[in-house]
């Protein structure tokens, strides 16, 4: 039973990756565009002398294999990807490779994702549970409603409002970047403090929108846990209320949340990309946006591919961990 579940999840992962790679490739190449012409046009637009462009055009077309028929390019792409892990060359920044453009941005996006979710999960779970716990003040219920309203608003709009409030109106937080320019970037307290200051608005934009989600699902899960026998038993045993709350109530209610989170991961990453853009946070969002603007096909392919693979991987991991956490689920194959 368990084995078939695992096999199923793993095969879905590989199918996802394959489909993603193919769709990625197709959509980009389906339009009859000439990226080398882009290169040339941009050169010229900046006033650079391009007297014998035909030569340059021909050279780069051959170099990037753009004169081959589509299926040949597809096979070349697949071969490079699977055998060498090679995503190709960046068009805009040749001879840099796509991986050189994409990889440095990854820790920033992951970091933002991680910290935003951490903050949201902690605050949200506590709020949600408190909202249901009979012995907590009614205030928490209202605060939860407030955050649920914020959850309905796209991260991008929240980010704009936060940007205006805290970077323009009362300039207390930096409006962009990850570090102050010229900082020593040593492993010291000052650098860490800056790092946190610069990360605050981006993290908040995402976290504020997520708290509601965590609170809501915790509330639902907690509510169904509330009537469970083991809670009554714990009370009878004389355990203190907060202990019961954290160790028995919340812990068990968190499991379904993990799945719900996994399902929403794709949407979450999409929203975060726009937030990175607003704050010029050096993550994948910015790389994707610049690649879009400069027509750097191969980088766009690389970023989209990376996003899809990592989300699929995360979901796979969560799917695999889940039955370990809750033995009751091990046999479930329906939902």
């Amino acid at each position: 039973m368990l084995r078939s579940y695992v096999v199923k999840r793993i095969s879905i992962f590989f199918i996802t990756v394959f489909v993603a790679v193919t769709i990625n490739f197709i959509v980009i190449h389906i339009t009859p565009q000439n990226p080398v012409a882009v290169l040339m046009g941009r050169l010229a637009a900046r006033g650079a002398m391009v007297e014998n462009g035909a030569q340059l055009l021909k050279f780069y077309t051959e170099r990037f294999g753009l004169d081959q028929p589509l299926y040949v390019q597809y096979l070349m792409y697949l071969r490079n990807l699977l055998l060498h892990g090679d995503l190709g060359y960046s068009l805009a920044y040749f001879p840099a490779k796509v991986s050189a453009v994409v990889l440095p941005a990854i820790p920033w996006t992951l970091g933002l994702l991680f910290f935003a979710n951490l903050v949201a999960a902690i605050v949200g779970n506590i709020l949600g549970a408190l909202a249901v716990w009979g012995r907590a003040p009614r205030l928490f219920t209202w605060v939860t409603y407030g955050f649920m309203s914020l959850a309905a608003i796209p991260f991008y709009l929240l980010a704009l409002i936060l940007l205006y409030l805290f970077a323009f109106l009362w300039p207390v937080l930096p409006s962009s970047g990850a570090f102050t320019p010229g900082s020593s970037r040593a492993f010291d307290l000052a650098t860490s403090f800056e790092f946190i200051r610069h990360a605050t608005l981006p993290v908040l934009s995402v976290a504020l929108g997520l708290i509601g989600f965590w609170a809501l699902s915790m509330r639902g899960a907690m509510a169904s846990v509330m009537g469970e026998d083991y809670l009554t038993y714990a009370r009878v045993k004389g355990l203190r209320e907060p202990t019961i709350f954290f160790r028995y109530g919340m812990r068990n209610a968190m499991l379904p949340q993990v799945t719900a989170f996994a399902i929403d991961l794709g949407r979450l990453v999409s929203g975060q990309v726009l937030v990175e853009l607003i704050f010029s946070y050096p993550g994948l969002g910015l790389v994707l946006y610049n690649a879009l603007r400069t027509g750097d096909y191969f980088v766009i392919q690389g970023v989209v591919l990376f996003i899809i693979i990592s989300v699929a991987l995360a979901m796979l991991l969560l799917d695999l961990i889940y039955p370990l956490l809750d033995p009751r689920i091990r046999t479930a194959s329906a939902i």
Partner: protein, 286 residues
Amino acid sequence: MSFYASSEGVAAAINRHATLWIGVLFLTIALLPTIIGPLFVEPVQGEVLSDIPNLPPDLSHPFGTQSEGRDVLAVLMRGTPATLAIGLIGGGVALVIGSALGFIAGFFGRRTDAIISTVVDVGLTIPPLAILILIGASFPVVSLLAMGIVVATTAWMSSARVIRAQVLSLKEREYVRVARLSGAGNFHIIFLELMPNLIPFLAANFVNAVTSTILASIGLEVLGLGPQQSRTLGSTIYEAMYHTAMWRGLWWWWLPPIVVLVLIFLGLFLISIGLDRYANPRLERH
């Protein structure tokens, strides 16, 4: 499952649906500029150069003018229905495709289910923005209809998943078993037994699909990949941004579309919760 089936009384029933009605209220407020607007301005004032740019709000321009000389209220009058239209078109397409496929998967099970579920699972993994960016960058999206269809391509999958789960659970209900035992054909079961019970779910699903599609369309528009020329709320915000309206203090330009969007999202959210409760009264206990 009739409207007033609960034994708690009318007041409680209204309270149960309060969320729904508050949501509708928010949507109405969001549409206020569109409804009342024509009393103050003509739609043609939403065109470029219709008046002096950057005027603050006053009687003749309740929301002032923006940097191209367009009257902001006129822009809202045009943009709000446009954004909602994209949502409705996209949501509708997503719902139709999603529920059809979800239904087929849930009802017929086995192979069909396996194939459709795999496609949906794979699709759900892919961040919508990634695909939309790919499409938007390669094929410049101009019309509202095109925009609706493009964003629907990423929104139908959650509908499919939810409807499938619902069909799976309904399939095992008593009345379906009875109908089958008494020899009723698939057609009868589908349209006379299952569908009526699915309607509340479809409604809730539709609202969610509309929310997703509007969300996705805004994502594209703020990257500059959607319909241009202030035709939607998202593109109005995009233009306000690259005209640096925030920095220049032109709050009457960037704030109203954001407020309208927030109201739309909140409204749809509350309606969705309200419909959820209606479809699934068990949630009411808490």
